[in-house]
């Protein structure tokens, strides 16, 4: 099987899609972009590859004759879910080990030599505790693409507890910062193989002996493990390196690809949205730092576009800023705003001024949810003007980007679209954050076909 890849380097997150020749998505990965695009690309691709391998594993098991279908649907599927979580945990522990090594090395370095033993005496228990937590968890939290975030929050919590005058909190955090950089920069050799094997050895089998429908004898649980092991071996041998990779995204100027492997984010979003919703004629993408209004034809070909690229008002960062001001997580904003009963009219769409307006209104005693509803509307008003500039909404409309997962943003947009253009069909895909990467993968597929001369 030949695969192609699309990578979307956004200002906030980096997304990767692996696609097969038929155009089916076989793997997806996402990670924080931070400031290192090479790294973000690699992590997102690693994730997509892992995701693809698990997908292939499922497909392989489905196709394996030794395991009958009913069995697969029940026990094997459950086992695979378990396996994936155990895999995540194994991967997390592997990275945690590396983090511990780097942190201890840092503590032993010349800079901290004087306090080295005091530091080590804190770090030891700290990492033991983190490992214990990981072992006890069910693996859900250990998505490795966000290893930095997850480990930082655990580390921070324990560091706070263990810090004292001799070894202050800031010192420990400094060590973490150094160490995490090293871990992220490291390529974990054959990490999939190592982690899947350890997960395979650990994963608990379904409690009940699986029974194939109609068959009087239960399939031994051992047979299930053997079948999965065999499939894993086949998947490990499979080549999941993409034959063609196309990159796109906000950081396009600095994408770690040669020029001919780069496509404009506008084109990628247009094509990606078209492939998810073929009736789409207008696409609005609101990412972390820019907003794009795109018109496409019935083949997903971009016919016109507008973007706000001078001012980040009304983009994802705007919400991030507001969330910080309110001491909330970005994901809490939308649901809170939805509880509003009387939306407040916000006049500023400038991120910084909106922050000031927010504080003013809070001191005036206005309710948080009402202010938030107003902020969401103000944000969407900006998007409406951009949409108008790009040619308006004449037909089916697709909303993509990180902000599309905010329900209050969607509500505000839906309302405004209705007011301005009448009832239009509005599509939002749960995978909308991958739209750009999806478009890029489709372009990669075109390149592959061209190369082969079909």
């Amino acid at each position: 099987m030949t695969l192609v890849a699309g990578i979307d380097l956004g200002s906030t997150t980096t997304k990767a899609i692996l696609m097969d020749e038929a155009g089916a998505v076989v793997g997806r990965g996402i990670t924080n972009s931070r400031s290192n695009y090479h790294l973000a690309t690699r992590i997102a691709m690693d994730e997509a590859t892992i995701n693809a391998r698990f997908g292939l594993l499922r497909r392989d098991l489905e196709a394996t004759s030794g395991l009958e279908r009913d069995l697969l649907r029940g026990a094997a599927a459950e086992f695979l879910d378990r396996l994936e979580l155990d895999f995540r945990r194994a991967q997390y522990l592997m990275q945690l080990d590396a983090l511990r090594d780097s942190a201890l090395q840092e503590a032993a370095g010349p800079r901290l030599a004087a306090r080295s033993s005091a530091i080590t005496s804190r770090l030891g228990p700290l990492f033991d505790e983190m490992a214990r937590e990981a072992h006890e968890s069910d693996g859900h939290a250990q998505r490795s693409q966000f290893f930095r975030d997850e480990s930082a929050s655990r580390f921070g919590e324990h560091a706070q507890r263990l810090a004292d005058r001799d070894v202050p909190y800031d010192l420990l955090l400094g060590i973490f910062d150094k160490a995490i950089g090293q871990v992220e920069g490291r390529v974990f050799d054959r990490s999939f193989e190592r982690c899947i094997r350890s997960a395979l050895a650990e994963s608990r089998l379904p409690v009940a002996e699986p029974r194939t429908a109609g068959s009087p004898t239960p399939t031994p649980r051992a047979a299930l493990r053997a079948a999965v092991s065999a499939a894993v071996a086949r998947i490990l041998a499979a080549d999941v390196e993409p034959a063609v990779t196309i990159g796109t995204g906000y950081g396009r100027q600095r994408l770690p690809f040669p020029k001919e492997q780069i496509r404009s984010e506008i084109l990628c979003h247009g094509l990606g949205a078209h492939s998810m919703f073929p009736g789409t004629r207008t696409v609005l993408d609101i990412g972390g730092q820019d907003t794009k209004a795109i018109q496409v034809d019935d083949r997903g070909i971009v016919t016109s576009f507008q973007m706000n690229d001078r001012c980040a008002a009304g983009c994802g960062r705007y919400l991030g800023y507001i969330a910080d001001e309110m001491n909330l997580g970005v994901h809490e904003l939308g649901p809170l705003a939805q509880r509003s009963t009387r939306s407040v009219k916000i006049t500023s769409t400038c991120t910084v001024f909106a922050g000031a307006e927010l504080r003013d209104r809070l001191t005036l005693g206005q309710r948080r949810e009402d202010i938030l509803a107003g902020l969401h509307r103000a944000m969407m008003l900006r998007a409406m003007s951009l949409l108008a500039r790009s040619g308006g909404i004449e037909d089916e409309f697709t909303f993509t980007g990180g902000v599309a997962s905010n329900p209050a943003a969607v509500d505000a947009l839906t309302k405004l679209v209705g007011e301005n253009y009448g009832g239009r069909r509005i599509n939002i895909s749960p995978g909308s954050i991958y739209t750009g990467a999806l478009g890029a993968a489709l372009f990669a597929r075109t390149v592959l076909r061209e190369r082969r001369g079909d």
Binding site: L267, V302, F305, D309
Partner: protein, 438 residues
């Protein structure tokens, strides 16, 4: 005729450029020497400039917009604008004005390093831009010199009526010529004017041939970035002069020779490679990053085959010529016909004509923050042109001479997206098997 050797070719290429350089240098030294030589200096604007008339009185024109754009190209405009803003000029004022005011504050040293003389007269040819009035109001306070206002009526329908023409001619006779007579102590000399107009008309023929050469594939010129150089002499002090005529003759020969050899335009990055996109551009260029901006086109193989900016100082390719047989009337027609004095429907019609005549792949609008004369209504033009021609329009935003408004990464991003959009459209003419989402 024998083929010139490659060495000869580059020599030929350079000749018009060298000429232009010398012409400009001598013009600015003449301006600098004016206080000693006793030459009278008149400040005036590019659109609706009455160069032949000024020259017939022996006065030297100075064009503040040209100085401002030159300051932009020499990376001086940022400081000048800051100086003007310190004085209280708002961020929203046209940056040409602020650049000019700032230059004045910082010693009035012109773009070539020579001092600019004070004006004896401000000839305010008003062709649709309200800022012109405010600009010269500021200069008048500065220099306390007389202002002669020529009000050129707007052309909403794209036709010059006899009344409009008559209105302008009457002002020429009653306001402008008397002001020039007072300034110079000379009487209006229609013969001298007509001689100048004849020289203009001949140069204009050559200019039209140069701009028309872009119909070739590949185009031997770039009608936007290269275009601004080609227009330098005719938009400034050299219309109606022997040097001007010689310049356009020489330029025309160079361009025709390049077309005959099948060569693309000369750019600062060398001769253009494969011509991948033929574009029509609406709106002025950005001057502070002129070369960087041009390179973004060059790197993608994009050639501008026609531009509206090259028509701000006169629209010749629709047939207008200065005409010695009707001197003042033809000056009036010239002023009335400047591009920014035209209504939106005429501008759309002109661009549509360029798109077809020059077999363009698409058009691009550079919307500059400073200039409402250009920018107001540009999105409507874009939609209308897309509708009429089915060609793709692109939209970028920058400014004339305020370096703060040129965001290279964003402009490049939009340009590349636009070029890829053209590619994608083109590709779709190919078999469906090649499609990404077949």
């Amino acid at each position: 005729m024998t083929q010139p050797s490659p060495q000869d070719r580059s020599a030929v290429k350079d000749e018009s450029m060298l000429r232009q350089k010398q012409m400009l240098a001598s013009h600015f030294s003449r301006l600098a020497a004016a206080p000693e030589s006793g030459d009278k200096v008149v400040y005036t604007f590019v659109p609706g400039n009455l160069t032949e008339l000024l020259l017939s009185f022996g006065v030297v024109p100075n064009l503040p917009e040209i100085n401002a754009l030159q300051s932009g190209m020499r990376k001086l405009s940022g400081d000048f604008i800051a100086a003007a803003e310190r004085e209280g000029h708002s961020e929203d004022v046209c940056t040409y004005v602020k650049c000019d005011v700032g230059m004045l504050r910082q010693g009035n040293v012109g773009p070539t390093g020579a001092l600019l003389p004070p004006p004896g007269l401000l000839l305010l040819s008003y062709t649709g831009c309200f800022t012109f009035m405010k600009w010269f109001e500021l200069l008048q306070q500065e220099y306390s010199c007389p202002v002669a206002m020529l009000h050129v009526p707007y052309q909403p329908e794209g036709v010059i009526t006899p009344e409009m023409r008559e209105y302008v001619v009457r002002q020429l006779k009653e306001v402008v010529i008397p002001a020039l007579e007072r300034l110079t102590g000379r009487a209006y000399d229609e013969d001298a004017l007509c001689q100048r107009l004849a020289l203009s008309a001949a140069a204009e023929d050559d200019l039209v041939a140069v701009l028309g050469s872009a119909r070739h594939r590949p185009s031997p010129i770039d009608a936007y970035f290269g275009g601004v150089y080609y227009l330098g002499p005719i938009f400034s002090a050299f219309r109606g002069t022997d040097e001007g005529l010689a310049y356009y003759r020489c330029l025309r020969e160079e361009v025709e020779a390049r077309a005959a050899r099948g060569e693309g335009p000369v750019t600062p990055e060398g001769t253009m490679g494969e011509e991948r996109y033929r574009l029509v551009v609406e709106g002025p260029p950005n001057w502070t990053h002129f070369r960087e901006f041009w390179k973004m086109f060059h790197d993608e193989g994009a050639v501008v085959v026609a531009s509206t900016y090259s028509k701000v100082g006169g629209l010749y390719d629709t047939g207008f010529r200065h005409d010695p047989s009707r001197p003042l009337e033809s000056l009036a027609d010239y002023c009335l016909g400047c591009y920014t004095n035209l209504g939106l429907p005429s501008r759309v019609a002109l661009i549509e004509r360029y798109l077809r005549d020059f077999s363009a792949d698409g058009f691009l609008i550079n919307s500059v923050k400073s200039c409402n004369s250009f920018s107001a209504g540009q999105l409507l033009m874009l939609r209308e042109l897309e509708r009429r021609t089915g060609l793709a329009g692109g939209f970028i935003e920058s400014d004339l001479v305020d370096p703060r408004y040129f965001s290279a990464a964003n402009i490049k991003n939009r340009l590349e997206s636009y070029f890829q959009m053209l590619d994608q459209k083109r590709r779709h003419a190919r078999p469906a098997a090649l499609e990404a989402c077949a």
